[in-house]
């Protein structure tokens, strides 16, 4: 729990330095193929203005978008065991880690920050898909555990934003164990009666979906996000059939009872704030708020009455 002392006097890490992106840079929408100015994408929160496709976005943009006034503090995560199996395939795992660290300027695939959403104290753990496909190993497990413990400590809600292909093979069985480990972590949030919301983004699959990501009090998914356990290609090879369009997409999960709502990215912060408000600022029976009852015009009192 030594990271908690860090929390008391948080070492505020400078956020990911915005990499110098030239203004004339174009991005291609993976769905409709339109070329879009990079700076326009930032304005639309990486939602394609032509086809509404929700593209993957950076963790920084995600946190800026979620927290009230883009104000939050990142916490430094504990340094755990690195490369416990001394794993190597065509390349050493430690080298892959270094490459990803250099590429993303992050230590591993999860970032934890705290602040307010809709005025409610919240801890957010957000996955970084750019870091080895957001795969979950010990360090990611550490991040989820730290986020859950911080939520309990601060009496805050926990929001986890997965974007992950699943377990990190390079950590072998110990990455599998993170499924159970993160399950304990979020159970502690639940046992304290604090809200645990999962914001499912593209993609949420494998060991991540089959653990904490499906255990939220409320599941919110971004439109079109791929969410599932087994990969579509694996399934197709196994059953030797073409999969139906929309398979494992957020809307498919909604229809199949797995998520509460599919929410457009532009409405996410508002939806999260409202939902957290309903769960945390409960009000008392009979407490009249001006917004409470929306009576039709015919029920308005006559002037002077």
């Amino acid at each position: 729990m030594n990271w908690l002392t860090n929390f008391v006097r948080p070492k505020i890490q400078s956020l990911v330095r915005p990499r110098e992106v030239p203004d004339n840079l174009w991005d291609k929408c993976p769905q409709c193929g339109h070329m879009i100015f990079h700076r326009d994408l930032a304005k639309t929160l990486w939602v394609c203005a032509h086809c509404d496709h929700h593209m993957r976005m950076s963790v920084k943009a995600r946190l800026d978008m979620l927290f009230d006034g883009a104000a939050y503090q990142r916490i430094e995560l504990p340094k755990g065991l690195v490369d416990p199996l001394k794993f190597r395939d065509s390349k050493r795992y430690t080298d892959r880690l270094k490459d990803s660290q250099a590429k993303t300027n992050e230590q591993d695939a999860v970032v934890v920050a705290h602040g307010r959403v809709g005025g409610v104290p919240v801890v957010v753990a957000a996955f970084n898909f750019a870091f080895m496909g957001g795969s979950m190993g010990i360090a990611v497990g550490d991040g989820i555990v730290a986020a859950a413990e911080l939520a309990v400590l601060q009496d805050a809600a926990l929001i986890v934003v997965p974007a992950s292909g699943g377990a990190r093979m390079q950590e072998g069985i110990l990455s599998l164990m993170q499924m159970a480990r993160t399950t304990v972590a979020v159970a502690k949030v639940r046992e304290k009666g604090l809200p645990f919301i999962v914001l499912l983004t593209d993609p949420t699959t494998g060991g991540v979906s089959a653990s904490f990501a499906m255990l939220g009090d409320i599941h919110i998914a971004e439109p079109g996000a791929v969410i599932g356990f087994a990969g579509a290609r694996v399934i197709e090879t196994t059953i030797r059939e073409k999969l139906p369009p929309g398979f494992q997409r957020a809307e498919y999960l909604l229809e199949n009872g797995m998520v509460d709502m599919v929410v457009h990215r532009h409405k996410l912060a508002e939806t999260l704030g409202r939902t957290l408000g309903l769960l945390r600022h409960r009000g008392a029976a009979g407490q009249l708020l001006p917004i409470a009852v929306d009576l039709p015009d015919s029920f308005e009192a006559e002037p002077g009455v």
Partner: protein, 317 residues
Amino acid sequence: MNFLDFEKPIAELEGKIEELRHLSDSDEINIAEEINRLQVKVDRLLRASYGKLTPWQKTQVARHPDRPHASDYIERLVSDFTPLAGDRCFAEDKAILGGLGRFRGQSVMVIGHEKGRDTESRVRHNFGMARPEGYRKARRLMEMADHFSIPVITFVDTAGAYPGVDAEARGQAEAIARSIETCLDIRVPLLSVIIGEGGSGGAIALAAGNTILMLEHSIYSVISPEGCASILWRSGDAAKDAAEALHLTAQDLQRLAVIDDIVPEPLGGAHRNPELAITSVAEHMDRALKSLALVEGGVLRARRRDKFLEMGKIGLP
């Protein structure tokens, strides 16, 4: 406006009033007087017929297509409504709506059968007949409310649970049983309002509450009058007799201590003035929630369980 059979004389008078209203000029004073005279007659007829509706007539009123549905109550009474979907198991069942919202400032979990209004929405909501996943969603939401100390309000309006092969295969009976069990287990207030049809197991799955309100002309029964008639009378034509024999009216159910209070409906039924009906339900809900708010969770649960243990100790005189 859809008229029921017994409302024919009223429909005729209202037709005449409409005609008169469309007549232009020609002695306006006389026309206004005639309209007034007819309106008085309409009100008298409404008062007379709605003052003594038979159980079969109440059945028709309870099923009236223009009667306010759960979605109407939610739209009028619940602000910040945030629908929650899915049973986390098989499907999202649109026959049962559910979600968080605020009723007069207080967070509430609202769950209700929705029959739908037009052909498209009726099909979408399966005419308010839920499958197992609907009851499993209801159970999940009740448990969530319990977990976050949020009172539960249910709006009951269903012909019954969906009778289908798929529903049976996925355990319709078990799903209803678990939903009833959860109603009786939670430690937050559970307020149930029977707004239209309280059809059998599909209804009690959401209605084993601390306080059960019933609209004046709604019905609540172990079986539909038609179903009962075909089984016991061996003829669907005997539905009227079955409705009589089942004592499915709010008035009889209050005598049997099955429900706690009756919400009066506007003259001519809730469908004639949905706004007024909804407001009157809201006042009753407010009162019920305020008194339940004073009771500690464990006591709420114990009282609810005791109440249902007592069912069947009071009969009709």
